[in-house]
Symmetry: C2
Subunit: 200 residues, 2 copies
Amino acid sequence: MTVERRAGSKGARTRTAILDAAEQIMSEGGYAAVTSRSVASRVGVNAGLIHYYFPTIDDLFVALIDRGADVNTQRLARALASSKPLEALWKLNSDRRGVSVLDELMAATHHRPALREQVTAQAERLRGVELAALAELLPQYGIDVERFPPALVAATLQGVALLLARQGNLGVSTGRNDAIAAAEAAIADLEAARHTSGHS
Amino acid sequence: MTVERRAGSKGARTRTAILDAAEQIMSEGGYAAVTSRSVASRVGVNAGLIHYYFPTIDDLFVALIDRGADVNTQRLARALASSKPLEALWKLNSDRRGVSVLDELMAATHHRPALREQVTAQAERLRGVELAALAELLPQYGIDVERFPPALVAATLQGVALLLARQGNLGVSTGRNDAIAAAEAAIADLEAARHTSGHS
DNA sequence: GTCTATATTGAGATAGAC
DNA sequence: GTCTATCTCAATATAGAC
């Protein structure tokens, strides 16, 4: 369905610009604000052109999901390979714009089955990578993976960060600074206690 | 704006039915699926009537937020007063339909300023109640409130539950059962270790 | 309180010119 | 590859009959 062009061509540039605009609009005004017209006007092209690259709006959303997943795959790999993986994961998950876009995508899946499939597949794939890495890392922190399996640690890191980011986006302030400070202190403690056997 | 009627009157019943229908539709098809037509058809009335009770669709959403906050205030109070508060909070936060509705509301706030204000205010109020109660409860669990302040515990309980509920709704299965089992075991441990001084 | 009818607006999508 | 023009549909909202 989607029009593919070799990188660097004019088509590829316009296509990228459309995706960029759509993502921006989504994070600012919600997924419902992403329309052929709104995207076209931000890109500075005609509305009809959007349908040239993405025949249906669902196609646009699917492309957005795939691109986002690719970017996140790279960020995740970098975080997991860094010298302070838990801290890096925390920062990654705390990105307010990212949380905002994710919230929108989740909501969008509720009435677009095609998106639902795509989000599920990509989430499953990303989670798999993360869990495999955490299974190796957690013992280094002295974390008992029987009591705190990778899946729980991943859910905690992401869940807490998501909630606090969401509160930040909303403007909810009650206790937020306390929670952030304590979370970061706890993570710093863990990083300090980590002992990497071997010499990577 | 909104039409108020004494409880039990015909108007009050219709109004309630409209809110019920809207909430259901929102959890099934997303907030964008909530239209005067869809709500009216589910209630079994004419679309024009929706605007009699809620002049604008925003009014409907605001009423939905307020009602949801009221219900949650009661549930929260009951959970906090129960014999196993942390476990009760966990269950409360794990409600998949609730998470789904909350996700939708969050998304809806992105392009409706009136909703944003309302959600923020209600969230702030609810959080205040929860934090005050946790400040008293946590010491009973032997939790050091300096390291794990109420706001962090609240965010953790809600964040983890939200993430896992979301994965359940999506159909993401990787590691989900592990995480749930471990989370519930950890909470059970805490409840077992709790010692309530006094004789409530 | 509820309905019918309708005005208005904006969205998705397509055809065809350039 | 991009634009203009246009079709079709559905949503919000209002007016007025019953």
